[in-house]
């Protein structure tokens, strides 16, 4: 039947992929450009990566970004997992619908609005803006993604495993820690990775909530690009792409392996 790829299909897939990835591929290739001019090819070279090593400001920004991403991803994972457990396990408690609505709202909320409202909150509370405010803002932003991932795992979780543990003398909290948690760990890890990547490349919310002391990598890149694209930027972005890609692949492998194992164990 018409299952074989027609010319039309091939062309549209190629165009679609090109549209998505051509800019990235060009960026990656040009990060290895030997020429100082961004638009002229000057042969392969690692000049810009070397230049990056001596760019103190850029390295500081990268370090700030990594710390914020690790901290906010960890906080979001703890809070998001708790929210997921509450939503799947507490049954129909009062205000459940409101609670789940509130958890998921940041998922669809325009970032500008989230950023602005957080800025207003921090100003109203009169806290110094910087590392901590960005971390809190990123926790708010990424928590709902963790909740979505962990909740979808918990919904398919076989409750009789928990019952079996309790039947064998394990109290409820210990059951959660020794049976439930290890089994949903791949989903939690995937949630953490996603939160980490989201935090790492966020520009909008970070710009709203940052202060004089803390410049994240995206903010740094953006401000440099406004003065003209330097080849160093291409090198930074290539490294970021690599980090995010690795995180995403690890996360999806982790959750897939969990699913395969589960299937084979017939649970």
């Amino acid at each position: 039947m018409g299952r074989r790829a027609s010319i039309f299909n091939i062309v549209s897939v190629t165009l679609g992929l090109a549209f998505l990835y051509l800019p990235i591929v060009i960026l990656v290739i040009y990060s290895f450009n030997g020429s100082r001019l961004v638009t002229v090819w000057g042969g392969w070279s690692l000049t810009w990566y070397r230049a990056l090593l001596s760019d103190r400001a850029m390295i500081d920004a990268a370090w700030t970004s990594l710390r914020i991403a690790a901290l906010s991803a960890s906080a979001a994972t703890v809070l998001g997992t708790c929210a997921a457990v509450a939503l799947t396990r507490l049954g129909r408690f009062r205000g459940r619908l409101l609670f789940s609505g509130m958890v998921y709202a940041p998922l669809v909320m325009p970032e500008v609005i989230t950023g602005l409202s957080l800025l207003l909150l921090f100003v109203a509370l009169d806290v110094d803006r910087g590392f901590w405010t960005i971390s809190i803002a990123h926790t708010t932003l990424t928590m709902c993604f963790v909740t979505v991932i962990v909740q979808s795992r918990l919904v398919s979780f076989d409750r009789s495993l928990e019952e079996a543990a309790m039947d064998l003398g394990c109290p409820p909290l210990k059951t959660f820690l020794t049976v439930t948690l290890p089994l949903i760990l791949p989903a939690i890890a995937a949630g953490w990775m996603l939160a980490f990547s989201l935090s790492l490349d966020d520009l909008v919310i970070a710009s709203f909530t940052t202060g004089p002391g803390a410049t994240t990598l995206p903010i740094r890149i953006y401000s440099e690009v406004r003065l003209g694209v330097k080849p160093e930027i291409n090198a930074v972005c290539t490294i970021m792409i690599a980090v995010v890609a690795v995180a995403t692949v690890v996360a999806s492998l982790a959750s897939k392996r969990g699913a395969v194992r589960r299937e084979r164990a017939g649970a």
């Binding site: 019952e163 543990a165 309790m166």
Partner: protein, 368 residues
């Protein structure tokens, strides 16, 4: 009366488990109702009934996963309704086995002992003992996903037995096994129960399974107890048409009770009077297919009940043939004939006129 006496005899004066007027409702649905039952120490007890009749709910109430809406559950004379599952000296083998996929076979079996903070050496020793008990001595290090269905079933059994529970609960333990393996496992389970002396309560919808393994069976119908007795008692002397029909094959003839006999549209058949039955009551004569005799002529013995009919259908089953014989009122009566001769098929064909006969004590009169 007769029923209560049998139950008293087998469950003993001090039953191990007692359900007293237990009911369980899930919103509008009533899963279990007015359920009263005693289970004795060391019994192999079966809860039998069609799917959805509340067997699992009953077992889950005993394990502590559901709280009764009414009534009490006693273990060793003490009400355990308020005791949480992890503090009950009762272990359960789950229908889907519920083995922990992140632990090895040995890790699964040791789980219960670990909760008691048993020492390393003791755990290792008891796990080895359990693995030997279920005849899987070399499987301790295997992962759960490397086991076959039958092996998983054994691991689940070992895991539930390691804490030496007062009662072992088994929810449809053989439902996932193929027929041949199921038959073997039934006998293994019986032998295991005899050796350990532990009280087993098994839930099943398979009447052959219940009859094979259990010392006593409680037959359930829509959340209520229909009859509780030894397997042979339930088969030979069911207390209602529902039980007679649920357990094995039966033909029921409706009639009116007379002195030492029952009057039906097909004639008068001699039978033992049911306990508490009065003359002119509407009753039913239950006849099991294997208790009937089939012949070409009316039997000479005047003591036998006899009825003519024509062969309507023959089902060949290998060990026996099931004849469906059409009677004068166009109803069908089932007769089983063992194929004892090497040639197999017996000598009657479709549309042959035959006589069915049975001695008075082979029939059983039901009053409801």
């Amino acid at each position: 009366m007769a029923e209560a006496a049998t139950q008293e005899q087998t469950a003993g004066d001090r039953p191990l488990v007692r359900f007293a007027g237990v009911a369980k409702r899930f919103g509008q649905i009533t899963a279990v109702e007015e359920f009263t039952l005693d289970i004795g120490e060391g019994e192999f007890f079966a809860l039998l009934g069609p799917s959805g009749c509340g067997k699992t709910t009953l077992l889950r109430m005993l394990a502590g996963f559901e709280t009764p809406s009414a009534g009490s559950i006693l273990l060793d004379g003490e009400d355990i309704v308020a005791v949480p599952p992890h503090r009950r000296p009762v272990n359960m083998m789950f229908q889907n086995y519920a083995l922990f996929p992140h632990l090895s076979v040995a890790g699964n079996i040791a789980f219960g002992l670990r909760q008691e903070r048993a020492g390393r050496a003791e755990i290792a020793e008891r796990v080895a003992e359990m693995l030997a008990l279920v005849r899987m001595p070399d499987f301790g290090r295997r992962r759960i996903d490397q086991l076959s269905g039958g092996q998983r079933q054994r691991v689940a059994l070992a895991r539930a037995l390691i804490k030496r529970p007062r009662v072992l609960l088994l929810d449809e333990p053989m439902a996932a096994l193929d027929k041949k393996l199921r038959a073997e496992t039934q006998f293994e389970l019986m032998e295991l129960q005899r050796r350990l002396g532990t009280t087993f309560v098994i839930v099943t919808h398979d009447q052959d399974e219940a009859m094979t393994v259990a010392d006593r069976i409680a037959v359930m119908d829509r959340g209520r107890l229909a009859q509780v007795a030894a397997p042979s008692e339930i088969y030979e002397r069911p207390n209602s048409r529902w039980v007679a029909d649920f357990i094995g094959e039966v033909t029921l003839l409706e009639g009116m009770l007379a002195e030492g006999a029952i009057e039906t549209v097909l004639g008068r058949f001699r039978a033992a009077m049911p306990a508490g039955g009065r003359k002119r009551d509407t009753v039913w004569l239950a006849l099991r297919p294997e208790k009937l005799h089939i012949a070409a002529q009316r039997p000479a013995d005047g003591n036998l009940n006899a009825i003519p009919g024509t062969v309507f259908e023959i089902g060949y089953r290998g060990d026996m043939s099931i004849y469906k014989v059409r009677l004068a009122d166009r109803s069908l009566m089932k007769v089983a004939l063992a194929n004892t001769s090497a040639r197999g098929r017996a000598s009657f064909g479709i549309d042959d006129v035959v006589w069915l006969s049975w001695p008075p004590e082979a029939g059983w009169v039901l009053t409801r």
